[in-house]
Subunit: 214 residues, 2 copies
């Protein structure tokens, strides 16, 4: 599956607040989100599956991939296009074995060492960060900055998506550092107008990529 | 796989307290535990896999099955003999599809309706309760008592293991109601001497079963 990594939006019901997370995702996709990740740390397995099935209908209709955070079982249950594992989740090599060769495997990396290991273990892409410091992952450690992104993109050949505190004000620098896209929770899911927020981020990323090619 | 359901011991690191959960499980098996379930609601996926791998070495050496609570992904990752799903976990029919026909599938049931549905969905056995009220599942609802166990064992043809507040003082009644074994956390994992506690429970269950046959 060819994936457009430009704007990778991660769900969080708590960040969506009173609004339906499904409505927020629909708006994000209308604004240009090109990948959706289901990430719900506080949900039961049953809730994740039900939410995942509903999200998958939306992403399928939009022709973009749905990736499940951490939970390989949920990804298999809802036949998601991929799974994303962090360093506290299932080891990437085991995840690759369980999901098979065709599903997308993403791995979180904050160091060159983790990134190189993840590529070796079968990752299709990396989520690299925390870049700027993020409110939704307070335990993520010191931000790695765009220098961290640049070091990792030089060390691996798979696509790198930047994550962690990305906003319209700092997104361009992430792409300039070598990432192919930006992953966000708060900047879109927590925005007053998720569609407009997604459109603004997408435009910024595309502008930098256009400049890179010319 | 033929399983002896007599004494089904469920892990909980918090109940084990200062002691190593692996030592507690070794002691429980020495005392006669015939099934071990890995159930760690507060652990990361990585921690569950590491603990599960260590437990699996112990249960394999003892020739008894290891069953993973809720997490089909962890069960597949560590090649456990089975998985147990509750009503908030993955639907039983999906779990059966993901684990294949040979692994053991257990389902929690507190009503005849849930029990019959679980058998239909491919359960190999049922965990029935909460029978007496349990401190480790404070959200389990009203205890169903041994009358609840009796009603379910009459309604299904798969083995029923009783669970919820079982102690040496009330275990016999669970078997007399038709269960083939008892599942415990606190009564063994929380006991001062887990081996002695397991031996005492096992003896009680075996005595009732012996009486039933004669």
């Amino acid at each position: 599956m060819m994936v457009d990594w430009t704007l990778y939006v991660i769900t969080d019901r708590r960040v969506a607040g009173e609004r339906s997370i499904l409505d927020v995702v629909r708006a994000a996709i209308a604004g240009g989100a090109s990948v959706i990740q289901l990430r719900e740390k506080e949900a039961t397995t049953r809730e994740m599956i039900e939410l995942g099935q509903a999200l998958h209908e939306i992403t399928r209709a939009a022709g973009i991939p749905l990736i499940v955070n951490d939970r390989v079982d949920v990804a298999l249950a809802i036949d998601a296009e991929g799974v994303h594992v962090g360093q506290d989740d299932m080891p990437a090599a085991i995840a690759r074995r369980l999901i098979g060769p065709d599903r997308i495997l993403g791995v979180s990396a904050r160091t060159v060492e983790e990134a190189v290991q993840a590529e070796r273990d079968g990752a299709d892409y990396l989520g690299v960060g925390d870049i700027y410091g993020t409110p939704t992952k307070p335990d993520a450690g010191e931000p790695i900055g765009v220098a961290g992104v640049a070091a990792i993109t030089r060390a691996v050949s798979i696509p790198v998506v930047g994550i962690g505190g990305i906003t319209p004000a700092n997104a361009a620098a992430v792409i300039e550092a070598g990432a192919v896209g930006v992953a966000v929770i708060s900047a879109v899911v927590g925005a007053a107008d998720p569609e407009a927020a997604a459109r603004q981020l997408r435009t910024i990323v595309e502008e930098v990529k256009k400049g890179r090619k010319s």
